[in-house]
Symmetry: C2
């Protein structure tokens, strides 16, 4: 459990890394949808949750390294609010539970005056405005004044998941598996993608959780950034579901399955699925401390390129093809990313600090979309999510210039033009010697998936 | 249907009201949840939808009254985007469908330079920042520089719903009724509030719609701003569900029902329910052109005060009690609000312009929460939502000072302390002679509600 001591220890560790100044933690506000008082579901800032744990809007916290104080700035509810909101724990009570003191929000600007203030890159515009006001800076100065020292210190700390966090991530992954299982047992020809997505969302919400990112639920798996749910699904289609739970403590799950809309995969679908599944295992099995995550990426790329040879789609030397990026016609994305409180953990900190830790990122098509390219340590949590896609727009683009013609049989691709895409994804944490997959098992082989699909009919 | 001509005609009407300068319409952006690229569901700005209809992020439009131009500023997708997003209609194609021309987003600032620019009150911080940049103003100057002329002209236009809008609102209300019906037939003792709310959300999402505001689904109906869904529901509890659909065109429904968690209402619950239902009808029946909406509010307040007399809770002259605000112990909110593209239609424009149109708003407890207090015209769409609540914190507060002691039997209230709250709400549009309730009929009488509840058991 997330005891008072855990929050105190987390802040203590951070205090041992940065020695002076004020560390500023901006909690989130409610975000307006179509007018100020009609808001999206509140999501607290992940770093605020990590160090101060209070899941409530309108708070800002500081760790004052010079004065040795840990203070949450915020206001208690008035009696008017209590009448409308009910009797809630006071802010002081909540702050006590995480070992911090409280002060009225109006006293924050004064507390920052003339101090060296460290802050993380703001990802919401209201944070930019607040920082500008508190620090007497322009908005541009706010953006350029972020603390590299704070980014790195917090990044390194949040990267290593504690046992209490892995417990939460196991739960998030298990809820995610339940969401997938519900879809597999529910989807039928004639439904819309929206109906399946709605069922998935229901499972997430019913137990007080929600989704960690917008649901991808599509018969056009080849369209990678696809949040359209308007298609009717038919026998013969592949259904790609990429979804994850955000559990009550806001840890993220993120899994993908691809299943036939009918009860069975076609032979062509089985061929490609088998390659993706092999790529998944070959990539996953790379994970261990001391290995660069890029190796897991390349393992998937090579398996995919090699596998597609057996279908007559690719040709030539696999190592050379992957080094040149020819496989990226079929898998233009990276094999996975960091996972934690954020589904792309700490993405707002900047990939150069977190995903790459100063290592140079490739600009090659495909590889440039890999979000993690650093040495793994025990406690890193990652996804593994290889895929094979037949993207007509991309095929046409490459074919027009015979790109990587020595590695790709473009003529053969005509048979796959309307294939769609397949992706398989799970979540794992790096252990002392290898890795552990998170969450309860979920149908993954062709046989397992078809067994679950049979229950929908 | 929403033809090109409708959008042209809407803009034409606006152009006849405001004669010079540039009218600026800020479309919305995707809003960051926990980092820039993990976003909430996109919600286009309602006024942008009304005049320009394009449901896509990253757009800004102007009506240049001096140059007689109607331009949407935005950028076409690059081939990179098409690879990831699929082949979508171009911006130019979409703009053609609403009769506007397009220009690259980068040319907007130039188009505004040195012009008299009218804009509406910004309700998202990124809009404040953009306006400050485009207009060379400080954020404070942006807030104080909104165009009263534009607010009033658009307000008066959007207030009168066209036939094509009423069609959409009928649909939104019917989906809303389906959401309620699903809950009534699903909720059972032992479930959590979250399970019921999740079912409601599923119904909204399954047909490609969503909710128009966060779902209130609670056994603590007396807590008015209640979005907590963590309670387990039990025989004897009342379940208050206040929810609405936002349909594909983003018109809002907003209905409330209160039903017993067991199959039947208790006698005490029936007594109070009967009063609320009577208040609902007495308020609804007031609606017609030329009447001030306050009359509908007072009709509900008087029915409630009068009805509670029969239970021994209130006493004295009803007219005097309501004039003094004594009823507000039981109904501290207003009887309803405007409805349209926004569930509180145009709330971001400012109540003084829209809900009250210059009429003075009361500061009396209860009445100060009434969001609409002006004369009704044909085409106004409103909710009617009276309720009776027993709010322990408020009862204690008033009782301690014997507030309105001549009208309230505080001793009697002990029997109702854990009663909770009941609200009944429907949507209606003012017609030429009276009103029309929107959407398909939904169980509302005690008998009808108990019939639906029987299906859950």
């Amino acid at each position: 459990m997330f005891t008072r001591d855990i929050y105190i220890a987390r802040r203590q560790k951070l205090k041992e890394t940065i020695k002076s100044g004020v560390l500023l933690f901006l909690g989130n506000e409610l975000s307006a949808m179509n007018y100020v008082d009609n808001t999206y579901t509140f999501r607290q800032d992940s770093t605020f949750l990590y160090y101060f744990g209070i899941d409530q809007e309108g708070l800002v916290a500081i760790i004052d390294l010079d004065e040795e104080k840990e203070i949450i700035f915020g206001d208690e509810l008035s009696i008017d609010h209590i009448v409308w909101m009910g009797n809630l724990p006071t802010l002081k009570e909540r702050a006590d539970q995480v070992g911090a003191e409280t002060r009225p929000s109006g006293s924050l600007a004064e507390a920052l005056k003339g101090r060296k203030v460290h802050y993380l890159p703001p990802y919401r515009p209201e944070h930019q405005i607040k920082l500008a006001n508190w620090l007497g800076k322009s908005l541009n100065e706010v953006d350029s004044g972020v603390s590299e020292e704070m980014i790195i210190a917090i990044g390194e700390q949040r990267l290593i998941k504690g046992v209490e966090e892995i417990e939460q991530m196991e739960e998030a992954a298990s809820i995610t598996a339940d969401m997938h299982l519900a879809a597999m047992r529910y989807a039928k020809p004639g439904m819309t993608e929206a109906q399946v997505a709605a069922k998935v969302r229901e499972v997430a919400l019913a137990d007080g959780n929600d989704v960690s990112f917008p649901i991808i639920a599509t018969i056009n798996g080849q369209t990678l950034h696809n949040h359209y749910h308007g298609n009717t699904i038919s026998e013969g289609d592949l259904f790609l579901l990429d979804t994850g739970a955000s559990n009550k403590m806001h840890y993220a799950g993120d899994m993908t399955r691809t299943f036939p809309v009918g009860p069975k995969f076609s032979e062509q679908q089985k061929d490609v699925y088998t390659i993706v599944l092999e790529a998944f295992y070959n990539s996953l099995n790379i994970l261990k401390p001391g290995i660069n995550y890029k190796e897991a990426h390349f393992a998937a790329c090579e398996t995919i390129f090699e596998g597609l040879k057996s279908l007559g789609i690719t040709k030539g030397d696999t190592g050379e093809a992957v080094a040149n990026g020819a496989h990226a016609l079929f898998m233009p994305h990276g094999v996975g990313h960091l996972l934690g409180l954020d589904v792309h953990d700490m993405e707002n900190f900047g990939e150069e600090y977190i995903g790459y830790a100063g290592e140079k990122k490739s600009s090659q098509f495909g590889l440039k979309s890999l979000r993690l390219g650093r040495m793994l340590k025990p406690g890193f949590a990652v996804t593994i999510e290889p895929g094979i896609y037949f993207i007509p727009e991309l095929i046409d683009l490459w074919q027009a210039e015979s790109k990587h013609g020595e590695f790709i049989n473009y003529a053969k691709l005509a048979d796959y033009r309307s294939f769609g895409g397949i992706r398989i994804e799970e979540d794992a944490v790096v252990t002392d010697s290898s890795y552990k997959v998170l969450g309860k098992p979920l149908a993954k082989t062709i046989q397992e998936v078809e067994m679950e699909r049979a229950k929908a009919f």
